[in-house]
Symmetry: C2
Subunit: 369 residues, 2 copies
Amino acid sequence: MTTRRPPFDTDTLYLGAPEVGRLVARVGLADCLAGVAQRIEADFQRWGDFDKTARVASHSSDGVIELMPVADAQWYAFKYVNGHPKNTHIGASTVMAFGVLADVATGAPRLLAELTLPTAIRTAAMSAVAARALARPGSRVMALIGNGAQSEFQAIAFRDLVGIRTLRLFDTDRRATDKLVRNLQGQGLELIVCASGAEAARGADIVTTVTADKTRATIVTPEMLEPGMHLNAVGGDCPGKTELHPEVMSRSAVFVEYEPQTRVEGDLQQMPADFAVTELWQVLAGRATGRTGADQVTVFDSVGFALEDMSTLRFLMDTARELGIGDTLQLVPRLSDPKDLFATIGRAEPHATPPSRFQVVAPTRAQRA
Amino acid sequence: MTTRRPPFDTDTLYLGAPEVGRLVARVGLADCLAGVAQRIEADFQRWGDFDKTARVASHSSDGVIELMPVADAQWYAFKYVNGHPKNTHIGASTVMAFGVLADVATGAPRLLAELTLPTAIRTAAMSAVAARALARPGSRVMALIGNGAQSEFQAIAFRDLVGIRTLRLFDTDRRATDKLVRNLQGQGLELIVCASGAEAARGADIVTTVTADKTRATIVTPEMLEPGMHLNAVGGDCPGKTELHPEVMSRSAVFVEYEPQTRVEGDLQQMPADFAVTELWQVLAGRATGRTGADQVTVFDSVGFALEDMSTLRFLMDTARELGIGDTLQLVPRLSDPKDLFATIGRAEPHATPPSRFQVVAPTRAQRA
C-alpha cells in the first residue's frame, strides 16, 4: 500500500521566545504595532467571515488558563493563555501565551509561536484601533493606570497610532511606574507621575486601565469622568475581575469586541443582560456610529478576542518568512502511508524492538476485568 | 526593579513526532497501551477531581478541528486534533494531534508533545478498558470493521488487555485490510478477512468499528446483533458521523465517556435526549453496574474525551524523563523582571534598533480616524 506521491508536508514553522523577540527587534516595536493594528482592523472589517467562539476558560484559585480558537475559510487559529496575578511574586509573568495557525483544509499545524510578547503588542494595537475610532479627534493626553508588563506597549501604540503626547502615570506599585518611566525615556512622550488614579485621570482625553488584580476593583469611579473622555478598559477581562464602577458604564457609550464573551468577562459583567453595547467591528466597517458627540464618554470594554490573535499569528508568520526567522518542527508525523500509522513505530528507532517481539502483558493482568 | 531570585523556569519539554516514535519503540507498544490504560482507569476512578468541558469544535466542509481541555488541581491539559477523512487522498493523515500539559498553579506550559500516535494508543487503551468492564468474560473473537490507521492499535490492545485471540477483519478499502494483515503477522492473532461488516460480526464476542467517513453510516445494523455482544463503537465521534443503526442503540445498554459531549458527537446523537446512558467512570469506580447478564448487548459509544489525553500526556512526560528523551523549548519568555516584558525586545538582538529610534508612523496615518 505504498503511495506514489511524496509524503504530505507536515512541517510546522516554530517561533519560540528568542525568535519572536528577534523578529520584533528587527522590525521595530512601532512597526509591529502598526502592522498588527492594520491586520486587526482589516480582519474586524470582514467579521462575518469568521467562525467565532467565546474562549474556554479553566479557573483555579490562583488564576485562569484559556483557549481561544477562531477560524475563517483558510486558517484555524488558537491561543493558549494564562492569567495568574500572583505569578510576579515568584518571578513569573502574569500572562504567558503561545498559539498555532493551522490549515482549515487539512488540519495540519503550520505555525507554532510564542505569544506572550505578541499578546502585549496585539492588545495595545487593538486598544489603539478602538481609540482611533472612538476617542475625540485631537486627543493628546492619556492617563495610564497600571504600569506593569502591558503599559509600555499601550504607550507606544497610542503615541504612534492615536497621537498621544502626554502620559499621566499611576500604579499602586511605585517600582512599576519607575520601570515604565525608565523604559519610556527618549520616546518623545511627556511623562507625569501621579499619586492616584484620580489624579492621573484629571484632564486626560483618554484613560487607559491595565491593572492585573483578579478582583472587582473600581479603578475608574464616576467622579473621575470628564466630558468627552474615552476609557480604554483593558484589565477587566475575566469573571470577577473588573476595573470600572458600574455607574461609569451606565453613563457611557460602551463598545466591545465579541459581545457573548464580553458579557461574561468584561466590565460589562456588572451590568444587566439587556445593557446596550455596540460591537466595535460595526464601527470599523461603517455599520454603526462610534462617538456621537464631543461630550460623550466612550468606553472600549476590552477583554481580548481570538481574532486579534489570528491577525497577529498571520503577521508573525508572514514576517518570519520574509526575514528568514524560525525553525521547523515535526510536531505531527510525516507518513509515507497515511493509513499506516503503526509503521512509524518500527521506523522511529533502528534498534527498536520489532513489532513481532512486543511484550505481551501477563494473562493474569489481561484477565483481571 | 531587578529581582534577586533567579528567573522563573519556563522551560517546556518537547516531544515531536520523532521523539514520540522513539519513546513508543523503546517502551514497546504493548507496554505503552498497558501503561496508558492503567492511567486512564485510575483517572476515570477519580472523575470528580477534574474540571471537564465538552471539546470545542470548528467544522468546515472537509473536516473538523477540535480543542480538548481538562484540568485537575495540579495539571491543565489540552489536545489539538483534527479529523479530515479526505486527507488520505492527498497522502495526509485523517487525524493529526498534539497536546500540552501546563501547571495549574502558574500557567507555565511544561510539556508539548505530538499526539497523533499517542491518540491512536489512548483510543485503543480506552476501548480495552471499557471492554474489560463491559464485554462478556472470556471474549476471544473480535470483529474489526475499519482497518485504517487506528486498527492495529485496537488489535494489540484487545489482545493484551482483553484476551482477544481471533480477529475478523473488514474494510471497504481492501488495501487497508491487506496492510493490517501484514502489520499483524507474527502477533499471535488469528486473522480472518471477511467480505462484509455483517460477515465480520458473525460469531464475534466483540464488534469494534473504527471507520472514518464523516457520514451517517450504519456499519452495525440490528440484524448483526447477537446475544451478549459488546460493541466498541469508536468511529462515530462527531455531529453527522455515526456508525450504529438507532435500533442497535435502543436494544443495548449504552455506556459513554462524558455524557454532555457524547450527546452531541456520539452515536447517541441519533437518540432522544432522554435516552438513558451510563458514564463509564461510574462502572470503573464501582458506582454503577456494567453488563447485567450474559445475553445483554452492551455498547461503548466512544468519542474520545480530554481526560484520556491528559492521562496520556502524563504517561509521556514521566516516560520521557525516565528515558531521557526530548528537547527543551523556550515556548514562552524567561524574564528577569516579570513586570518588564518590554525589556525582552532590547535584549533579543544585540544589533536591534534601540527603543529610542522606533520609527514613528506618519501623522497622516496616525490621524486617519
